[in-house]
Amino acid sequence: MLKQMNGPLLRTKVQPNPAQPASQDSPAPVPRQKIEHKSSRLADATFRYLMLVCALSVLAIVVLIVRELILSSALARHTFGLKFFVTQVWDPVSGDFGALPFIYGTLVSSLLALIMAVPLSIGVATFTTEICPPRLRSMLSYVVELLATIPSVIYGLWGMYVLVPILRQYVQPFLAKYFGWTGLFSGYQFGYSMLAAGIILAIMIIPIITSITREVMSAVPTAQREGVLAIGATRWEMIRVGVLRNARTGIMGAIILGLGRALGETIAVTLLIGNRPEIAKSLFAPGYTLASVIANEFSEATGDLYLSALVEIGLALFLITLLVNIVAQLMVWSITRGSTQRATA
């Protein structure tokens, strides 16, 4: 049998492994010996190309997304040009469309969500990695990730029934009374407002920011923590200087990833934001986001220009989230690259 294996049926190709610096994203490759059978070369090639087709399909999907968005929005783009993004008017009846109220609504609701979610997320991540007793750790992280599994429509439903009445009855009068001078808390208190949307978005993005922050905080080497403690730091100083400062790029990445999620969130926001295409300073005023207008009006849009304008809003949303996600990925990768290890046994 040995003779058969060493005969003409078996060709051993040794591929020397090019030395790759440890800074690459993929795990350290191991020298590969590609052993080919003449009889299986066709099957090998077929398999490889089949898998290649699958991988290419991912690229094809993204190309298709861009193509369809650009093609379907052509009418609106040619009619309005770049003015589309600075016009405040959204008037389907007269055919006058402008995306500014939606851009404003999306940005403000997401920003509001970030302001509320980031301190809480970093707090939870700090608690889970540094302060919490190890036995509680996995349970706590499981519970926080449970928040991520709740579908958006349930958040919206809960927001309508619990959050909005609480806002209307307790929070909004309180804010108007003590902070009304800022101008941010004026106007009629509907409950359905930018504030409600911001709060629900904050709840929705906390799990993402928390889990990635936890990941980057765990990736900080223990030597850093010990070094800081060795020079006499208190516990909080150790966390602040030894861990958070080292992980800050990754934490920024986590925040931006959370922002990306908040920008694209549709259903919960649509149910809570009031859906009025106007720009208002007060957080009590209803707003409208890019995703909400598509969700509300797409299936009822009359006329090609209306539909095309909505698709252009979709294109704008896609480009914004694309940019944000790319920035976030680059930041998170710079911290956690190389941390997935290939098991060698």
């Binding site: 191991v30 099957a43 889970t128 449970l146 599994t149 299936s299 694309l322 990925q329």
Partner: protein, 269 residues
């Protein structure tokens, strides 16, 4: 400061408990046999249910899985076995980008690709939208699971003369199978709750539909429609539907946990 972190944790736990508690409180009273077996009745009549939505969701998810799972696993296999070079980075990066695309935009694309060409709404369009969303989740996890299989296992197979394709399919994939199944169930749980892409692809339906070429009701879609309505009875049903949805998602998440705890290296049994 440490106290602040503890406080933050408690604050974050409050909405979780509140949401689940309120969901159970509101939904449990309306869950009955009628609800699970009847289709919606006109407003004002009692006894309607969401049976068509539950079945419709199942149909759409089936189509989505048929599209998303093979493509996702195939991409994952490619990235793990062949994807060390620049092209692999490109695919990985693109998959991450695809992961971050808002679901409503994917709905627009599915509308443009399927609904416009077929000139009608369909469960197929909804399935395509959800399938596209499943691909990056599955491929990422599949790649990770396959990379966790020790290289020595592959080398042993090659040393025995087993060709590359056979090694990958019968040995590497089977070893990582529980992890891959975990990933598939996770992606399933994630897209099961998606409403936005179905708004103008599957559109929703008040009656039974088992054909892939017609509008279909879906559970999250039905909940959304009922939540937006002015009728108390529909609100009550929306809560019951929400309870069913979260129960189904939690069941698949628990299965995921159970499968994950059995370990990756135990092989596919």
């Amino acid at each position: 400061m440490v106290g602040l972190a503890t406080g933050a944790t408690l604050v974050v736990l409050v909405p979780l408990v509140a949401i689940f508690g309120y969901l159970i409180y509101k939904g449990i009273g309306s869950l009955d046999w009628n609800f699970l077996t009847k289709i919606p009745k006109p407003v004002g009549e009692t006894g309607g249910g969401m049976a068509n939505a539950i079945v419709g969701s199942g149909l759409i998810l089936l189509i989505a899985s048929l599209i998303g799972v093979p493509m996702g696993i195939g991409t994952g296999i490619y990235l793990a076995e062949f994807g060390k070079k620049r092209f692999g980075y490109l695919v990985r990066f693109t998959a991450d980008v695809l992961n971050g695309v808002p679901s409503i935009v994917i709905g627009i694309v599915a509308w443009s690709l399927v609904v416009v060409s077929q000139k009608h709404f369909s469960a197929l369009a909804g399935g395509v939208a959800l399938g596209i969303m499943m691909v990056p989740i599955i491929s990422r996890s599949t790649e990770e699971m396959l990379l966790m299989v020790p290289q020595s296992l592959r080398e042993a197979a090659w040393g025995l003369g087993i060709p590359q394709w056979r090694t990958t399919l019968s040995i590497t994939l089977r070893t990582a199978s529980s992890g891959i199944i975990t990933a598939v169930m996770l992606s399933f749980a994630r897209v099961a709750g998606e409403t936005a892409p179905l708004l103008f692809t599957a559109l929703g339906n008040q009656f039974w539909n088992f054909s892939i070429n017609h509008e279909t009701a879906a559970l999250p879609l039905q909940i959304y429609t009922y939540a937006n309505s002015p009728y108390d009875d529909w609100h009550r049903q929306a809560w019951a539907g929400a309870l069913i949805l979260i129960i189904l998602i939690l069941i698949s998440m628990s299965l995921v946990r159970m499968a994950a705890s059995r370990g990756v290296f135990k092989g596919g049994n």
